[in-house]
């Protein structure tokens, strides 16, 4: 697939990394020569210097043969205009624009088709949705959502002294009487796609699927308390906080929002009369205590500085066992950040690139049973792939125990008629199902890719 990316900032760079790894032909345009040059030295792509609005530059980059056009500069208007121009130069091109401004978030959807933009991406809005969902989860539990709400993968750390210590996975259903599936285990630096014989230990990070009710029971049995949220404190009133506040407005959760900028606070106060808006420094301990930190059920740090967010969350986790959510935008320090005890981490930039990659893979697979959503798990060492089964194939209507899949690949969940089914050996994949596979392989696009290569 030929892809052109305008803007080579954090999102642009991570897109280039992913897309060039998947063997796409990528051309990057940035108006800063050092950036365009740097990216060419690092990845196998072509870099051009100039504006995405430059007619002749787009042509030099081969816009007429490009399949997908992605505008991710820091400027919303420019992104939209670039897409408009690209559509003008090449009729069949797919376009993706990043638009972040809350002022546009609603009206832009009405204009989308007029502007000829195939997909509009709003990282802050997507991140706000993730935060909103995470708030109601127990501490130390985080979730990955797939296309329907029924399909979710939960990740949690086995607490100290849990009954799971030393238990084999095949014993869980009858010993705990809970019907869930453990589809991935991370132990220190190792990652396992476990089978029935696998023995669990405390401090293992396990990923589970199962119906919501069964899941809650399971949490209770292994010693994780559920989280009933009434009060949330959010530090940093940026765009993400704005979207989050909008979502919380419709619930009965009380929001306390802290920001050190007077103008921002006043603006938020105008929009959200019911929220408690505090003008103050989020890293001021006394102030946090004064504003009722001990009553909070969840704590969200969304300042523009990653380090501050991390320190705040670590502080909160050290004094009280509540849900903490940390926004982190600097992708390159993944391994360091994951080594910290941070609970849920939200990464808007990564969400953006994941969304775009999902779109690329879906566009590439044509109309077959292709990947609907992709989630990177465990620092990119594994992927959860959701397939929608549109047609019969070699994988359908065969009991899973007879289905030969690639090594380290596991069917984690089947969603049929909006209901989650835990795949056991006797279950089979049918047309109309959504199936989630967990795999350590990358770049799988269709259901057939999941099957063992030997079968092909």
């Amino acid at each position: 697939m030929k892809i052109m990316i305008i803007g080579c900032g954090k999102v642009g760079t991570s897109l280039v990394r992913e897309l060039s790894r998947e063997e796409h032909e990528v051309t990057v345009i940035d108006n800063r020569a050092d950036r365009a040059k740097g990216i060419v030295g690092e990845y196998d792509v072509m870099g051009l210097v100039g504006s995405g609005m430059d007619h002749s530059l787009l042509q030099e980059g081969g816009i007429d043969q490009t399949d997908l056009f992605i505008a991710v500069t820091g400027n919303d208007e420019l992104n939209l205009l670039c897409c408009l121009l690209a559509r003008k130069l090449c009729e069949n091109i797919q376009t993706i624009a990043r638009v972040r401004s809350p002022e546009y978030s609603e009206t832009i959807m009405d204009l989308q088709s007029d502007l000829g933009v195939s997909v509009i991406i709003n990282p802050e809005l997507a991140a706000a949705r993730e935060v909103f969902k995470a708030i109601s989860l127990p501490p130390t539990v985080s979730a990955e959502t797939f296309s329907s709400d029924a399909s979710e993968i939960y990740k949690l750390k086995i607490p100290k002294g849990s009954v799971l210590e030393g238990m084999a996975i095949k014993d869980i259903p009858h010993k705990l009487k809970s019907d869930i599936l453990i589809c991935m285990v991370e132990r220190k630096d190792d990652l396992f796609i476990p089978d029935g014989e696998f023995i669990l230990h405390e401090k293992d990070l396990i990923s589970i699927t199962g119906q919501p009710k069964k899941r809650m029971q399971f949490f209770k049995k292994i010693g994780i308390k559920s989280n009933n949220v009434h009060n949330v404190m959010v530090i940093g009133a940026g765009k993400l906080a704005f979207y989050l506040a909008k979502m919380l407005e419709k619930t009965n959760i009380n929001l306390t929002l802290v920001d050190n900028n007077r103008a921002t606070c006043e603006k938020m106060a105008t929009f959200f009369p019911n929220a408690t808006i505090i003008e103050g420094n989020g890293s001021d301990r006394e102030m946090l205590a004064d504003e009722g930190l001990e009553n909070m059920d969840a704590f969200v740090s969304l300042t523009g500085i990653d380090e501050e967010n991390i320190i705040l969350s670590l502080y909160i986790r050290s004094i009280m066992p509540i849900k903490t959510i940390t926004k982190i935008n600097r992708i390159s320090f993944d391994d360091v950040i994951n080594a910290l005890d941070l609970d849920t981490i939200i990464n808007p930039k990564k969400l953006t690139s994941e969304t775009i990659i999902r779109y690329v893979r879906a566009a590439e697979g044509g109309m077959g049973s292709n990947v609907e959503t992709v989630h990177r798990l465990a620092q990119d060492r594994a992927e959860a792939l959701e397939f929608y089964i549109r047609e019969k194939s070699r994988a359908t209507n065969i009991p899973l125990m007879n289905l030969k899949t690639r090594s380290d690949t596991l069917a984690a969940l089947i969603v049929r008629d909006g209901k989650a089914i835990l795949p056991r050996g006797t279950d089979e994949i049918r047309v109309g199902d959504s199936v989630i596979f967990i795999t350590t392989h990358t770049g799988l696009c269709t259901l057939d890719d999941v099957l063992d290569e030997d079968v092909l």
């Binding site: 030929k2 060039s20 063997e23 032909e25 990528v26 051309t27 020569a33 060419v40 030295g41 690092e42 990845y43 196998d44 792509v45 072509m46 081969g62 630096d189 391994d335």
Partner: protein, 487 residues
């Protein structure tokens, strides 16, 4: 410095060289040169063994930074020449290893200078190998390997940039591999066209193949002791035109293939290149017309010579040692000027000269208007200040190498013209010079030390000076930082 990735690149290069040696091996079998075939078989085995060992010990980390790219390329060319000299040496046809090395370096760098006084004494297989090294060296071995490696990471661009001639190397298409493939497709296509034309013009197959490879790489090894005397005017005419074509920036052909004819013919470098050839031919024809029986022959031979010298090929139909001083001076200037960037030719490159002249013009205009702000432009686009600067630095290094080589060569006690043109001929990858190293002479009489200096000049000239010089920079080799543990 990541030594293991160097081992990997060198290993792959050795393996490819083993494959390249199959060409002379087959030639030896065709011409029933049994003992030479054994020599090539042995050389192939040596290359394969060294290559395999290097690849096996190399690590999994395949990241090549810019400096490693340069070092890897420089070392590759040296190793390639060291191994490529084996067949000449083992077969005993070039008894001294230094001479064999000189001949191979001259081959791979597409110089075409020779230490042989009588070429036809060489076996067919060795002559084929000599010419084949031209063809491989012309477009670049690394580029060739990149076009075949299954998936070369982005950092392999650093290898390509180090090997390709020209001030600013960019990709034609997003992927390194596809870029390399496109270039080689054009290269192979043009080679085949020339080969077919020569065969149609009645040249025998061996000569046609070897001369075509010499033309394509702008190398210039002759395959007969009588030089070009036995070829017809038509045959030499075809070679002259193709020398000129291979000296044009390959981006020109890419643009033509994409149907952007207007843009192609507006490339400043190509226009100046053709202009220089026409002007030089005209002046020399006027000057040496009396030496030829008629005007047509004068134009034919002068055009052939100009085309051969400016593209740094070095074929010669006539002995220009006997031409008028003004003609010789122009030829020496053409030697230094060289062909277009991004072609298979060597020399200083027309685009660099363009940039320098424009820089001079800009400097003068700032003298007149001290506050004026101006950009140096190329093909209508402003070029980065860094490129202008790097071209100036290139000029400085070029002159320094030239001067140092000249001093070292002078120790041999030859005359000034021989010394000056022999350095010019090797540093610019041309082949023959004037005086003792003229088209009818050879480099055989130089001392082994002088030959090594020439080898350095040829490699430096082919790899655009910097990579080879970096080898001599001590700080490239010592590890200062602790190695970062990657996950």
């Amino acid at each position: 410095m990541n030594y293991l990735v160097l081992a990997y690149v060198l290993g792959v290069v050795c393996l490819f060289e083993a494959a390249f040696m199959l060409v002379p091996l087959i030639t030896a079998l065709i011409y029933k040169e049994g003992s030479i075939a054994v020599v090539y078989l042995l050389s192939t085995l040596i290359c394969t063994t060294i290559g395999a060992v290097l690849v096996i010990i190399s690590g999994k980390n395949r990241k090549i930074r810019a400096k490693e790219g340069m070092i890897a390329v420089a070392l590759s060319w040296i190793v390639m020449s060291l191994l490529g000299a084996l067949p000449f040496f083992i077969s005993g046809e070039i008894p001294k290893y230094v001479d064999a090395f000189f001949e191979t370096v001259s081959g791979f760098t597409t110089t075409g200078s020779t230490i042989l006084t009588n070429v036809s004494k060489l076996s067919y297989a060795n002559r084929m190998w000599r010419s084949f090294t031209h063809w491989v060296g012309g477009m670049g071995v690394i580029v060739f390997i990149l076009s075949l490696l299954p998936s070369a990471g982005g950092s392999f661009m650093n290898l390509m940039a180090a090997e390709s001639p020209g001030p600013d190397v960019s990709k034609i298409v997003p992927k390194v591999r596809d870029t390399a493939k496109t270039l080689y497709r054009i290269y192979i296509g043009m080679t085949l066209i020339q080969l077919v034309l020569l065969l149609l013009a009645g040249m025998n197959a061996f000569d046609a193949i070897t001369l075509t490879m010499g033309t394509a790489g702008t190398g210039g090894f002759a395959v007969r002791s009588d030089g070009f005397d036995s070829y017809t005017l038509l045959q030499t005419g075809i070679i002259a035109v193709f020398m000129l074509l291979f000296g044009i920036n390959f981006n020109f052909y890419v643009l033509l293939l994409r149907g952007k004819r207007k843009q192609a013919f507006r490339m400043e470098e190509v226009v100046s290149y053709i202009g220089i050839i026409l002007a030089a031919t005209t002046v020399i024809v006027i000057s040496v017309q009396s030496l030829f029986p008629d005007l047509f022959l004068a134009i034919h031979h002068v055009f052939f010579t100009v085309s051969s010298i400016i593209t740094t090929t070095g074929y010669a139909t006539v002995d220009f040692n006997l031409w008028t001083p003004i003609a010789q001076i122009i030829l020496v200037l053409l030697m230094i000027c060289g062909a277009c960037a991004g072609s298979t030719g060597g020399g200083f490159k027309v685009s660099r000269i363009n940039i320098i002249l424009k820089g001079v013009k800009k400097e003068f205009s700032t003298l007149v208007h001290p506050r004026s702000v101006k950009k140096v432009r190329m093909d209508g686009k402003p070029i980065a200040h860094e490129i202008v600067r790097s071209v100036n630095v290139f000029l400085a290094i070029y002159i320094s190498i030239f001067v140092f080589s000249l001093i070292l060569i002078a120790l041999d006690g030859k005359d000034l013209v021989t010394n000056f043109t022999s350095v010019a001929a090797t540093l610019n990858n041309i082949g023959p010079g004037l005086g003792e190293v003229g088209p009818m002479g050879s480099f055989a009489d130089f001392s082994p030390f002088a030959k090594l200096v020439f080898c350095f000049d040829m490699l430096a000239g082919r790899l655009e000076l910097l990579p080879i010089l970096l080898l001599f920079l001590p700080s490239m080799w010592f590890r200062r930082n602790r190695r970062i543990v990657s996950q």
